[in-house]
């Protein structure tokens, strides 16, 4: 008797479609509830003694930054699954995750910038974290640009996977180098220090909520992509059939 692992079962697109159809409404609802609860709690917190009310931006900035990195990790894992295990849904996962990751990265950058203006006085601050997120944004753009520049889908998926894996290997080096660079050019004085526990609870709820939202969006993106590929396959079959009907070699 054969038992299948979950990834093996998920190799069947139809299984994935059925499962995700059931899960998605729950996932989205939980995400929405947690986000609303977390942010409402967040708005009820008192002003921070250093940053005043602008600390409230943290409740969306930190989850966005965390998700921007997690999304890239997901793309790397999916790319690995494609190249090494040839998992049928690996590329769908990678392709769906890229624009969502890029969006969260953008949100992290914008909210970070808006947080920085009242806190440090400038819209942009070349601190280690923001700089790393900016570079991460370029990595996402690169992935999407590469994929769109190659017409043949199977080739595009594999080359993008190679790029993603090269990126994930270099990413720690980039972070390390940016940290180094930052400590050279930024003498102390950056607001750091422990987080007052009153802020921790809303942050946690918000972070979990946004993570669930990410997975819901990713799942939806995968569903769309699976349908898109079915459409393409059928369109190709139609063209093929029509060409043959007219005695032309497709």
């Amino acid at each position: 008797m054969q038992t299948q692992t979950i990834t093996q079962k998920l190799a069947n697109p139809t299984f994935f479609m059925n499962l995700s159809a059931k899960i998605l409404p729950w996932l989205s609802s939980f995400a929405a509830i947690l986000i609303i609860y977390g942010l409402t709690l967040g708005f009820a917190t008192p002003p921070d003694y250093q940053q005043g009310q602008t600390v409230k931006i943290m409740f969306i900035h930190v989850p966005a930054a965390w998700l921007s990195m997690m999304a890239y990790g997901l793309i790397a894992v999916s790319s690995f699954g494609l190249l090494v295990f040839r998992h049928p849904l690996a590329d769908v996962s990678a392709k769906a995750a890229a624009p969502i990751g890029a969006v969260f990265t953008l949100i992290a950058l914008v909210t970070g910038s808006l947080w920085g203006k009242p806190t440090w006085g400038t819209y942009w601050q070349w601190d280690a974290r923001m700089t790393s997120v900016l570079i991460l944004f370029f990595l996402y753009l690169g992935l999407m640009a590469l994929r769109s520049s190659i017409e043949e889908e199977s080739l595009a998926s594999k080359l993008t996977a190679v790029l993603a894996l090269t990126g994930i290997v270099i990413l720690p080096v980039i972070k390390f180098s940016v940290n180094w660079w930052n400590t050279l050019h930024q003498p102390a004085g950056v607001l750091k220090g422990g987080l007052d526990p009153v802020f921790l609870k809303p942050l946690l709820f918000s972070a979990v909520g946004f993570s669930l939202l990410f997975f819901a969006l990713h799942m939806k993106g995968m569903r769309n992509e699976i349908i898109r590929r079915r459409v393409k396959a059928r369109q190709l079959k139609e063209v093929d059939r029509a060409a043959r009907a007219h005695g032309v070699e497709a």
Binding site: T54, I57, A64, K117, N224
Partner: protein, 54 residues
């Protein structure tokens, strides 16, 4: 009553507004794209069903 967000309130509201706007756009795109693909698929499946009926 909206709580007083201090002297930098504009930045806070803008952050939340931009986040909401961007996410709403993303969700809208995903939903609309999904509907469009499903419609296309349904149309194609209807066509092939008709063909096999002939």
């Amino acid at each position: 009553m909206i709580p007083d967000m201090g002297p930098h309130a504009a930045f806070i509201w803008m952050s939340y507004a931009i986040m909401t706007g961007v996410l709403a756009a993303l969700i809208a795109w995903l939903i609309l794209d999904g509907r469009k693909q499903s419609r296309l698929l349904a149309a194609l499946e209807a066509r092939s069903a008709k063909r096999s009926d002939k």
